[in-house]
């Protein structure tokens, strides 16, 4: 039996970064019941790592997004394929690429609507995830498409890029909306 319930809850809450009330709810049986000595024992736990991650050769892509509200791709110096997501070399030619400015229009090639999301996105449903073809790029990039009604999503829908007001230098810095809406 847990000796000091309040202290146990406080330590658990600090450890897994979950409010005490929610932990108390999840561990109601262990805290308030009288489980047998050999009953399965569950414990609160978390796996957590912090990073100072480098974007390496594609750092410029995220600086252009963050600082200049500009979408860049990369072009293979040999075959001319324009990559988005960008890459600093071509996996067909094994040749370097150069940076190219892309258009701000796109279209949906395929999409889905997420109604049941991961813990991170749980309160944000429903939302649209799509593979979009940005004008000027040869490959597709996955992005969110924001619509007044998610059911308006369609293959072929014309889109326009929108940038977040406070940008962090990550893929959350931009998204797409229907082309007409952005005019």
């Amino acid at each position: 039996m847990i000796q000091n319930k309040e202290q146990w809850l406080e330590e658990a809450s600090r450890k897994i970064k979950v409010p005490k009330e929610l932990i108390a709810r999840a561990f109601h049986e262990e805290l308030e019941g009288n489980p047998a000595i050999d009953a399965p024992l569950e414990v609160p736990d978390i796996m957590d790592i912090t990073y100072k991650y480098t974007y390496g050769g594609i750092s410029r892509f995220f600086r252009e997004l963050r600082d200049n509200q500009q979408l860049y791709g990369t072009k293979c110096t040999t075959c001319g394929t324009v990559w988005l997501p960008p890459r600093i070399n071509c996996n067909e030619c094994y040749a370097p690429t150069t940076w190219v400015k892309l258009g701000d229009t796109a279209r949906i090639v395929t999409y889905t609507i997420v109604y049941y999301a991961t813990s991170v996105f749980y309160g944000k449903t429903p939302y649209v995830c799509a593979f979009v073809k940005v004008d000027g790029a040869d490959t597709l990039i996955m992005q969110n498409v924001f619509l007044k009604d998610v059911r308006q999503a369609k293959v072929g829908m014309k889109l326009k890029i929108q940038f977040k007001e406070n940008r962090n230098g990550d893929m959350g810095d931009f998204w797409f909306v229907p082309a007409q809406e952005a005019l």
Binding site: R25, T112, I113, S119, Y122
Partner: protein, 418 residues
């Protein structure tokens, strides 16, 4: 290449939660069942290939090393395979190659997953946290931040397919759900045996368009082990082994936006092509007696019919509508109930499916036995937008000996077995 047989099969119950077992205790149970089924002891095992997908599920990196110790295999060769949802199938592939190469006589494949020890305290349920753990498999820079889920990863190629061919329809997908839940009624280890109607599926709540609740498999916990053996060893152990007569493995472009065609499960097409070629199968639609496909989502099963050349592009929906893939049809798909009916204990799933196929060709599948099952296909899919596929052809011994492909049944496509 040496011939590879399956001589022992053991699978624990697939269920939502094994609260009374850790991952290595579950692994032990499957290992014990498989050894007993093969009639051998742990000392007879030359090496072990582990199929375990997700570190965050197990709350442990390198979980295989602790299982290897726990099941008393210390000192023996071992490697872990982690290929997303295809982990179990790819583990079978690796174990097959060890025996085909003549390295060992007997190899255990052991798949296990504890998918629901993680827990979302706000919702009071594991699933959102399970999905979060999976999403670490999406490219962390470009795809993870978009809020993709496993279902969304399958829905993207599916919507492209529907846009091109008009199929599968939501009704056809619902029919797959009804079939697989129903098949699971005959499987004692299944997590979701259910008699549903098409309307039950169509009216269930939307999870990820176009998948509704019953179009999805559920996360399962469980373990599955099979014992593979060289030809001599297999014949010494049993007069009725199942043979792995063909294998294929493909990893398509994981950045699916680079693919030429979003409407095909290309990895399944390639893995199937290679497995068929090795097994000498030219007309899978008539030469296969059954298949255990990776129906993580109903639409995925239908697109898999097409990828494995059981019908032409866009023709998958008709196979379920015409009853061909039902237990009463002439090419039953997922007699076990598949991932939707039996469950998806990720690393264990492909091993379980391979074991199920072996039970079928050995005539040991009890109530879910497909009549005269001689040749079956197993598919294991994983990775972003179905990037990975492992495929296996499992055969009964007499077909491997004689290979009378031309004389095999000449049923017309679309006809039903009576």
């Amino acid at each position: 290449m040496n011939k590879v047989g399956i001589v022992g099969i053991g699978t624990t119950q697939f269920k939502a939660r094994w609260i009374d077992k850790t991952y290595y205790e579950l692994a032990y149970d499957a290992a014990k069942l498989a050894l007993e089924d093969a009639g051998i002891g742990k000392k007879d095992v030359g090496g072990v290939v582990y199929g375990i997908y997700n570190e965050f599920f197990e709350r442990q990196f390198m979980p295989d090393v602790y299982i290897h110790n726990y099941i008393g295999m210390g000192g023996k060769p071992s490697v872990r395979v982690a290929t997303g949802g295809a982990t179990g199938g790819a583990a079978v592939f690796v174990a097959w190659s060890w025996i085909a190469a003549g390295l060992y006589d007997t190899v255990m494949v052991l798949g296990v997953e504890k998918a629901t020890d993680n827990y979302n305290y706000t919702v009071g349920h594991p699933t959102p946290e399970t999905l979060k753990a999976i999403l670490f498999s999406g490219d962390m820079t470009f795809e993870n931040p978009m809020g993709l889920t496993a279902a969304a990863s399958y829905a993207l190629p599916l919507i492209a397919h529907i846009n091109k061919y008009g199929t599968p329809t939501e009704r056809q997908m619902a029919m797959v759900s009804v079939k697989n839940h129903k098949n699971a009624m005959n499987n004692p280890i299944a997590q979701s045996p259910k008699l549903l109607t098409v309307d039950d599926v169509l009216n269930s709540k939307m999870i990820t368009y176009p998948f509704k609740f019953y179009d999805n498999c559920l996360y399962s916990e469980g373990a599955s082990a099979i014992i593979l053996a060289s030809e001599d060893k297999a014949k010494a152990l049993t007069d009725n082994p199942a043979w792995i007569s063909g294998v294929g493995l493909s990893l398509d472009k994981a950045f699916a936006g680079e693919r030429d065609d979003m409407t095909i499960f290309t990895s399944s097409q390639y893995a199937g092509r290679d497995a068929y070629a090795m097994a000498g199968i030219k007309h899978p639609r008539t030469e296969l007696d059954f298949a255990e496909l990776h129906d993580a989502f109903t639409g995925a099963e239908i697109l898999s019919y097409e990828a494995f050349n059981l019908c032409g592009p866009g023709g998958g929906g008709a196979l379920i509508e015409d009853g061909v893939v039902e237990m009463t049809g002439d090419l039953p798909v997922s007699p076990s109930g598949g991932l939707i009916g039996c469950g998806h204990a990720v690393g264990a799933t492909g091993v379980m499916q391979t074991g199920e196929a072996a039970l079928q060709v050995q005539g040991r599948a009890d109530k879910r036995q497909v009549k005269n099952a001689r040749v079956g296909l197993v598919q294991s899919i994983g990775g972003p937008a179905t990037a990975w596929t492992a495929a296996m052809i499992i055969e009964r011994i007499d077909t491997v000996k004689a290979k009378p492909a031309a004389q095999k049944k000449a049923r017309r496509p679309g006809t039903r077995r009576t």
